[in-house]
Symmetry: C2
Subunit: 224 residues, 2 copies
DNA sequence: ATCAAATTTATGATGCATCATATTTGTTGC
DNA sequence: GCAACAAATATGATGCATCATAAATTTGAT
């Protein structure tokens, strides 16, 4: 998943740090509001500030980090408006990915998707929420991968970068029902029904994200 | 248009150089295949290499520039596959933007769109292809702006960054009929018909881009 | 004259020193 | 004790020196 963006990208230290921070964000290891300091990170990683600065500036550019003032770099808080906008974009783009995936999927690729769902069932049975979250995300990325749209993959990767801290925040307490909506997606792909796959992904994003939206609204309203 | 990305972005020299290069790309001042050198640019702009490096690395990340090898930074060539993928994405995203724009547009905003179209007519009458290209692009961005989706705006800006060098290349010789498809868009927005606006934008992207696709296929096939 | 090895040059990567400034802390006068 | 000013500190921005290496050029042997 990490190599979604650097398919042909020259690998320098800055890129390494960038992907490190990406993973940290996606896996929710960085909490919303948390502050990052270039020198501190550089010391922690054993590099100079230059590569860390490279990485952080990149993340700021794609709004995965926010630079409130010149010295204040933080993991941004998600707002309801922003979430709704991202949701609308995801429905369009992941719908496109699902549609193309349904058209293209080989038997082997379908088997891989089934395997992801099976592992996810196991994770839920084990009560391993973190693993469930990770597998949920992997399912979504597997679709783009099967769709064979590398540019789209990059866009979606950056979008998920925004949602990482939020999702980890929300699903740390319950929310194991997000797997349910993957079954219709899988069914549509098995019969190569593109439009049905797109509709199913849309349902997944809308219904599965309901918990997140409620959490956001709850956190926003009684604030202050 | 330049501020599409830096709404809340801290402005440092690197960002300035970045936007400079963005404009150069979008306006087709950098040709596909052209090589960029950090030191040379730094000298030309009168800065040190650091901000230029910042800017170039950002552009490489979003694939607006390509780093073939460690010292070989170039404006990438568009391929047919890539163009088709981007076209599919644009139809979804600009369709969404047009739909929301149709819902939201105030009378004043509609007047602004009409003004853009009028200026475009004038540019065509004057035979000013460059200005026509610019106004075409501004129309598309005005839609996203009216839609009120800042995140989407960023994504689309980066997509247009990819198309800049190509479009300038193609439209330097003819191709003035791209305005025709803006009238149905405008008509749909006037009556706040979202789905019709989305369909009209889809037509615009498909038909208006036909010339580009032909140019690409012609350039690819008898290559070698 | 040709080709290969060696040397030079070009260029991005990295580290780091310095600067400017925002933030914090401490001091002093009321 | 509190407030306002001042010193100290923290931190990102910028410039630049140096390194590693790929590309280009020269040189010399055959």
């Amino acid at each position: 998943m990490t190599d979604a963006l650097d398919t042909l990208e020259h690998d320098n230290l800055g890129s390494t740090v960038y992907h490190l921070l990406c993973n940290a964000l996606i896996q929710g290891k960085l909490k919303p509001g948390e502050r990052l300091k270039i020198r501190e990170l550089a010391a922690r990683l054993g590099t100079s500030v230059t590569p860390v600065r490279d990485a952080i500036l990149r993340l700021v550019q794609e709004q995965a980090l926010a630079m409130k003032s010149a010295r204040d770099i933080r993991v941004p808080h998600m707002t309801v408006e922003r979430y709704l906008e991202i949701r609308a974009i995801r429905i369009k783009l992941e719908g496109l990915a699902a549609e193309m995936a349904a058209q293209n999927a080989s038997a082997e690729q379908i088997a891989q998707l089934e395997d992801l769902v099976r592992q996810n069932e196991q994770a839920i049975a084990d009560g391993d929420t973190a693993r469930g979250c990770d597998l949920n995300q992997r399912f979504h990325f597997a679709l783009v991968d099967i769709a064979g749209m590398p540019f789209l993959q990059g866009i979606l990767y950056r979008i998920w970068l925004q949602m990482g801290p939020l999702i980890a925040d929300v699903y740390s307490a319950g929310g194991d029902d997000m797997l349910d909506f993957h079954y219709p997606v899988l069914a549509a792909i098995r019969v190569h029904d593109g439009p049905a796959a797109a509709r199913a992904i849309s349902d997944d994003i809308l219904c599965g994200g309901q918990v997140i939206l409620q959490h956001l609204q709850a956190a926003t309203a009684p604030d202050a």
